[in-house]
Symmetry: C2
Subunit: 325 residues, 2 copies
């Protein structure tokens, strides 16, 4: 699994078919009192209600179900700060495949605990001193495991794209013909997938959202070339902290996305608090940056759809957000 | 609106038709890690994702859309600890009807604030010293407002029943043929509605859940006659604290429900914490008693469906629940 070409629309439709009945069709939610705060209509694609609490289950299931039976029996490996970890762990367990997950030692405790609870073997590493890609590759080779990359993998992007196909359907059901679709963006798997899925819908323009200091995608899109973040950790938005845009994902984003949006950690926490009060959803910081942009940025159209891409958050972080209600 | 006969199945189907496209078809959620804690399969009907954050919007919309145009223009009045208040306030606003809501002065601040935000006029009263029914009736007469009772009203029960019709469909989709359906029970409007909707499905037995000390329905069902609670306030489960079972609802419960289930305040808070971690849902204490029963009671079948009937909770109460994760 190291083809660097983007998934085709046929691959996306095929992934959606494999996911049918296995991933949840998550609801597109809105709330009149939230619209009032935003000053626009805000719709939230509630991927925090997806299996394992994030959209990552889609890509994991897509990749694992496309594996030859023999490879699946041998097992898979993934490196992840936690959401891809849980997605792969749960998909692997459902499909009877052994799973090894390499996680940063400072990942939220709930994510490490849940990844183990889904039945995976968890190995931790240090974000600042170790290279997770090298670590994953070595283990993958020594144990015959198939590496499931978190975003630079066409089958994974095709899986995440199923959220975009649903957004297109749900937007139509809601009578939305024109909107910015704001996605929480780390390596760009979800953003690229949704952008590809929405390509036949020119009224729905995708814009990636990121936390301040980790806005590699926004800066790269503006510069027209891949730029790295200055540091590798330090944001509360752990789910979407990646060193730079992906090799497969970035060209897709360049071709299809509008300019990136950047929010502060405090804005992400305030968005979590407003999702708590008005949507009754638990959203994690990295999953709330798109909603934060929808609520607190000004250069947006009348209607905005944003992903609440994950809800795996430690109670202490959630308490901090609740302090901002 | 003071007919004391129960709604017929035809009224329920008619209410569901009026609600179609206006109330949300809330998802039936589950989580493998939650099942492990419960020791059984637990499905959650996420009514906290309903408009205004609780099932009450269903009954309010049902009652308001059945009103003659002239009465609707004159306006409606409701007394409620907060969820019926918000349901009526929002439904009234959408339908262009003025709304006066009588709320206990110690209702959660978020509920009072939101009721006002939906555009209703809020009047507060003291739970211990004032009779909200008398207060409502007096205002209703002096200002020509139609009183929308929270549960002893056939059109309201018929509206809540739409959640039961959805449960029947969703249970079938999930392949569930036999289950206890546990409902959060105050005056019994949701419980009676769901019980009536599930009457054609003998495999799905409804059981009301209540907080300890306010288990009037469980005790009344056991005694075969209406028994009152000893006190009128003091539970964290504000949404489902009522003095006694309703006049219309209780005979329905007697005819159709299994024995009541009772949970402690701490169990309700622990259920909220587990819904936070495993379902990424914000559930209020009174909306969590059914899940608490599903998780912590033993005399239950292999599969249980429970309502998460509301998610309007003050941050301080939610923080308390998070302390129990």
């Amino acid at each position: 699994m190291n083809d660097l070409s983007p998934p085709t629309y046929a691959m996306i439709k095929a992934a959606a078919q494999r996911l049918n009945g296995h991933a949840r069709r998550t609801p597109l939610l809105n709330a009149p009192l939230l619209d009032r705060i935003a000053g626009r209509r805000v719709y939230v694609k509630a991927e925090c209600l997806q299996w394992t609490g994030s959209f990552k289950f889609r890509g994991a299931w897509s990749a694992l179900t496309a594996l030859p039976e023999e490879a699946r029996r041998q097992g898979v490996i993934a490196f992840s700060s936690g959401n891809h970890a849980q997605g792969v762990a749960h998909a692997a367990a459902l499909l009877g495949a052994p799973a090894v997950i390499i996680m940063p030692h400072d990942a939220p405790a709930v994510k490490i605990a849940n990844t183990r609870a889904y039945g995976a073997e968890v190995i931790t590493y240090d974000r600042l001193t170790e290279d997770r890609e090298a670590l994953g590759l070595a283990l993958s080779q020594s144990r015959g495991l198939t590496l499931i990359r978190p975003y630079d993998e066409p089958l994974v992007i095709a899986g995440q794209a199923s959220a975009g196909l649903e957004i297109a359907e749900q937007a139509e059901e809601a009578g939305i013909t024109a909107a910015d679709v704001i996605t929480c963006c780390g390596g760009g798997g979800l953003t690229a997938g949704i952008a590809l899925a929405l390509e036949p819908h020119p009224g729905l323009r995708v814009r990636p959202a990121e936390p301040a200091g980790f806005d590699d995608t926004a800066r790269s899109l503006a510069a027209g070339r891949v730029l790295r973040n200055a540091t590798a950790s330090g944001s509360i938005c752990d789910a979407i902290v990646t060193p730079e845009p992906g090799k497969i994902t970035f060209p897709i984003l360049q071709r299809l996305c509008g300019p990136g949006l950047v929010v502060s950690d405090e804005e992400a926490l305030r968005a979590m608090a407003l999702a708590f009060t008005h949507l009754r959803l638990v959203v994690e910081p990295g999953g709330a940056v798109a909603l934060a942009a929808a609520l607190f940025r000004q250069d947006l159209p009348e209607t905005v759809i944003c992903t609440a891409s994950g809800g795996n958050v430690d109670p202490e972080t959630f308490r901090k957000a609740l302090g901002l209600t």
